[in-house]
Subunit: 255 residues, 2 copies
């Protein structure tokens, strides 16, 4: 789709199939594909993200340690409302409000629950997944992003990417914690004695899309044929394999 | 109410007004009062909890470090279905299912969200509130519970109750973290730009009751006239004061 009136989705290219690898931009891509909203992907290398966000008018999502604004993707520009927005949950709320005829991502009565869920997800999964996933993520970036990503992440962690999770007990422990986090989420989905695939039951909501975003990152960057992805698919009796199968129809990249 | 056919709620007595002080049993009491279900409170001192649970057939809620079963309150016995149950969230689900004509605590489409919320609440608030609240809680217990509570909590923390949070910087830091946790919950309630008092908007659900249970613990044990409670009421622009006002009509003890 390349109509001049479609939403522009700003994303970071990599060398995985389809180019799109970022968990956070996948959340917005899944959201757009799930809603059936046409869009066009604009590829932005890491060193250009701040400039591009400023140009379209997308606000920074946080502040760096030195106090300067921190711009991140995903961002969208929607020509039909002349709106630029960053941060995947804000974008989801905007899409729900602006396109009421499309499937709802965050039903209003679940909005506070969605925010609480993000907090729980952050603490359970993300802090363990990042040290495992940042090194292979860096390796599949294009040269300008590779240099930027390596420098910023190594400064953040105070060590070389190769030292984040070398093969051995520390790496194994991180994987165990990620697996434990997914098991905990599995326990939420069965807390009432029913075996729900999605948070609200049969229908996908933004909590599911968030999990799918983090999970597709592992699938694409580790590789769908990797031993690690095969292990993940077997976690919790194959729950996450079944879960991700449902997202396959939304796993495409409109350029 | 003392009809022979009402639900029995097993609770731990203290010397606060109304006797009921426990955050977890308050969750079930709020739930019963909110649903308008008649019940009778059975007061159980700490050393007797395991025996009473075994007698009515309420299962342990976890396992002690030595591998033996750990029985906790709240527990209920419902003569109309001959059911004994422990653990406040399980009881809430049971009440929703068994009494469908009453206000719903956990709407099915929010069940997984409620479980995720509990995880976030646990990590944000409870781990900081306990070291502050256990010492004054112990002081208002009756002698048999006082001895039991002091022994078990001191073993758990490896220090005397008086050393948990002595007046000074460590205590201040704990209070700051509890306040930060409440502020974080406040941010969830305003994430969509609306200023919701309750998780689902206007109607109380079990997430709200959980927060109210922990909050009423502070109010009753620190004292409604204490400087600490006055400070809590001012957090987040008075949000939690307004929040707890709505729970006052459910804050009674049927004996």
């Amino acid at each position: 789709m390349s109509s001049s009136n479609v939403i522009l989705l700003y994303d970071i290219p990599g060398n995985v199939a389809g180019k799109a690898w970022s968990p956070n931009t996948w959340k917005t891509r899944y959201a757009l594909n799930y809603k059936g909203l046409p869009y066009k992907t604009i590829w932005v290398e890491y060193p250009d993200i701040a400039q591009v966000c400023k140009e379209i008018g997308a606000t920074p999502t946080s502040t760096k340690e030195d106090g300067s604004p921190y711009f991140t993707l995903p961002a969208i520009y929607d020509p039909s409302t002349n709106t630029a927005l960053s941060e995947s949950a804000r974008i989801a709320r905007y899409l729900d409000k602006t396109y009421p005829g499309t499937p709802v991502l965050i039903p209003p009565e679940t909005d506070a629950f969605h925010a609480a869920f993000q907090e729980a997800l952050q603490r359970l999964v993300l802090q363990n997944i990042s040290p495992l996933m940042l090194p292979p993520t860096c390796l599949q970036l294009n040269p300008p992003s590779y240099v930027y990503f390596r420098e910023t992440r190594e400064r953040m962690y105070g060590k070389k990417l190769e030292e984040f999770t070398p093969v051995g007990p520390i790496r194994d422990e991180h994987w165990q914690k990620v697996q434990d986090g997914y098991s905990r989420m599995s326990s939420w989905l069965t807390a009432d004695g029913k075996d729900k695939l999605f948070f609200m039951g049969d229908k996908i909501c933004y909590a599911d899309i968030s999990i799918a975003g983090w999970t597709v990152w592992m699938k694409l960057v580790l590789g769908p044929d990797s031993a690690e992805w095969a292990a993940i698919k077997a976690w919790d009796g194959g729950r996450w394999s079944r879960f991700m199968e449902h997202f396959e129809k939304y796993e495409f990249v409109d350029e």
